[in-house]
Amino acid sequence: MSEKDFTGKPLCLSGRGVTRVFGLGDKKTVAVDHVDFDFHEGEFVSIVGESGSGKTTLSKMLLGLLNPSEGEILFQGQPRDISTGKKKKEYWKGIQAIFQDPFSSFNTFHKIDAVLLDCINMRGGKNLPMDKKIEMMTEACSFVNLKFAELTNKYPFELSGGQMQRLMIARIFLLKPKILLADEPTSMVDACSRATILDMLLQLRDEIGMTVIFITHDIGLAYYISDTVYIMEHGKFVEYGKADEVILNPKAAYTKRLISDVPKIHEEWDLSTVDLQAEA
């Protein structure tokens, strides 16, 4: 599978024949169907797919929140073992996530400082002196352009969606995992906050060397931000490669359709390609 190596960096997370089946018998649906992938250290990967393509299921499997029905996932070249609670904890030190909906990502009963303190504790900083902890939290907040002093004693829901998503990134900044899985982190925030969030994700990659797996339905976004793009349809990767090659020179029919269906500003948006009867 060496053709997937576009960076020349060591492997970080890869999958061989990863499959997830829901239900039994007649109701059986294959959400993710024998996919192979290789994500490298410091790579910015986008997985693009429409709703129902299985990208969320795949992301849950990558995170270890869901077990694959078949196939295996390799973490840093070794088969991933998350059979016990302790091993899971260890794995989660290496991979973290930002979810789509900032409003449901936070426990609304916990204050912001508690959220950030928890991250420091998870990194083994439980016994650090309080002023050191505050310093760390302030640093994390300033990384995402938030002022820690204004956030103490506040609850997450007092912030706007964009601010909450940035707080999520501050959390990642404190945890410093090897891999960050971002599951549509910008789909629920405004275009202006979107730019900030994307910027910060790039910064995490460039400054900390994180591998970012970016899951999105927006092919324009994927093109803008990622090194590598995987296009997913019905649980399979139909096309993958460098962002420039895939987006500007799509091979698969599905990719072509996706790109042609997105409204653009320099090219004509061709409405005639739509088959209105198709969905019946």
């Binding site: 989660w92 996530a97 979810f99 449901s104 936070f106 426990n107 609304t108 916990h110």
Partner: protein
């Protein structure tokens, strides 16, 4: 939290329910202080004394009298003595005698008496009238004449030496005593029950006991339902299947039948109020369990729970801090409804004679049971059961009002 309370007290329904419930609670706490004593003390001999103020006749006779000349005193006396049945009987007599009574007002005591004095003759023996009926008319006539005639009642005491009765005092028609000067006056606003117990006092204590039963039953049901629902919803898989199987079995068996069977098999002697409460709780947890489970399932897949998992938190911590607070308001609402159903279940059980054993404490259900056993409903002693029904209704109404009020605040789909 503060904001939630503020919102709660903006809801008219919640406030109304809260006020009624607190008023009942305050009565339960304060009334025994004002009117201390055993609520089940049998003060009356005989059954079902009417509600009203009772004046000791013995003390009244010995109280200093005041003379009041009231012109309508005789009339009032006669009017009071003439019951509705007596009046109908009098009219019946007139019709037998062939007198036109078409413009006679049955409530006009004067007209009735005038007509009676003019037409009644004890020697007449109308056809078809039984001996007993004629005697009844005689007695009625005598008592009417007595009220009119006697000006005084003579009190006599036996002479210590000779044993002969000696007139000691007379009570004239114009003698009055001031109630406040009589040594013993007993106010029984709701009369007495079949055992001669003060119904109001009994009712207050019964309401307290019933609320306690409701609280115990609600707590037991909510604790069982909550913990099983949390486990079932969060763990999923086999644990979920097993718990749901048990829940379904409990749901399929009508809980009231189960309640009757358990109560019956425990036996009369072992059934204290607390035992009955626990039994009620043990049979009514199923729907709390089901609804908690469904709420937990929808929360389980929320991102903040996933995030908590990714942070390496233990299952217990996730359940306690990431799931429980989200369903807390819901659980409180379920608890309130469970308290209400607990009180009603106790009433139903007791009405069937399967409630707490009868000698030590009164509960609302037991009071209804006693009233029913002693035919209060057939002999017109409404005070023995109607206030009890009203209290049960008020308690469950207030609890349900609070529940709907909370629902409006907490349930976003009902928010206006």
């Amino acid at each position: 939290m503060k904001n939630t309370l503020r919102q709660l007290f903006h809801s008219g329904k919640f406030v109304a329910g809260f006020v009624i419930f607190v008023a009942i609670l305050l009565t339960v706490f304060i009334y025994p202080l004002v009117n201390p004593g055993d609520p089940l003390e049998m003060i009356g001999v005989g059954t079902f004394a009417r509600p009203g103020t009772y004046v000791s006749l013995y003390d009244a006779v010995r109280t200093d009298t005041q003379t009041l000349r009231l012109s309508e005193a005789d009339d009032n006396r006669i009017a009071k003595a003439l019951s509705a049945e007596d009046r109908v009987a009098m009219v019946e007599w007139f019709t037998t005698m062939g007198i036109d009574v078409s413009d006679l007002d049955i409530d006009d005591t004067d007209a009735l008496l005038d007509l009676w004095n003019a037409n009644y003759d004890p020697s007449i023996k109308p056809q078809g009238m039984t001996m007993a009926k004629r005697n009844y008319y005689k007695r009625l006539n005598n008592s009417l004449q007595e009220i009119r005639a006697a000006d005084e009642i003579i009190l006599a005491e036996p002479d210590e030496e000779s044993g002969a009765l000696v007139k000691s005092d007379t009570i004239s028609k114009t003698d009055y005593v001031n109630v406040s000067q009589v040594a013993n006056v007993k106010n029984l606003p709701l009369g007495t029950d079949n055992f001669g117990r003060d119904v109001l006092k009994e009712l207050v204590s019964a309401a307290g006991t019933s609320i306690v039963i409701g609280l115990i039953a609600g707590t037991v049901a909510t604790l069982i339902g909550l913990s099983l629902g949390l486990l079932s919803g969060y763990l999923g898989g086999f644990a979920d299947d097993f718990i749901m199987f048990v829940t379904n079995v409990f749901t399929v068996i009508p809980s009231f039948v189960l309640l009757i069977l358990i109560s019956y098999s425990i036996g009369q002697e072992q059934r204290g109020a607390a035992v009955v409460a626990v039994v009620i709780g043990l049979t009514s947890w199923t729907w709390t369990c089901r609804s908690v489970r469904s709420q937990v399932i929808s929360l389980r897949n929320r991102d903040h729970v996933n995030l908590s998992k990714l942070s390496g938190h233990s299952m217990i911590r996730i359940v306690l801090t990431d799931i429980l607070p989200y369903i807390a308001s819901y659980v409180v609402m379920a608890f309130i409804l469970q308290v209400s159903t607990g009180i009603l279940s106790e009433a139903q059980l007791s009405l069937l004679g399967l409630g707490p054993k009868t000698t030590e404490t009164a509960t609302l259900g037991l009071m209804m049971n006693w009233a029913m056993l002693y035919s209060a409903h057939t002999n017109g002693s409404w005070w023995a059961y109607f206030p009890v029904i009203l209290t049960i209704t008020l308690i469950s109404f207030s609890l349900n009002l609070m529940n709907t009020g909370m629902d409006q605040v907490f349930n976003p789909t009902l928010r206006d």
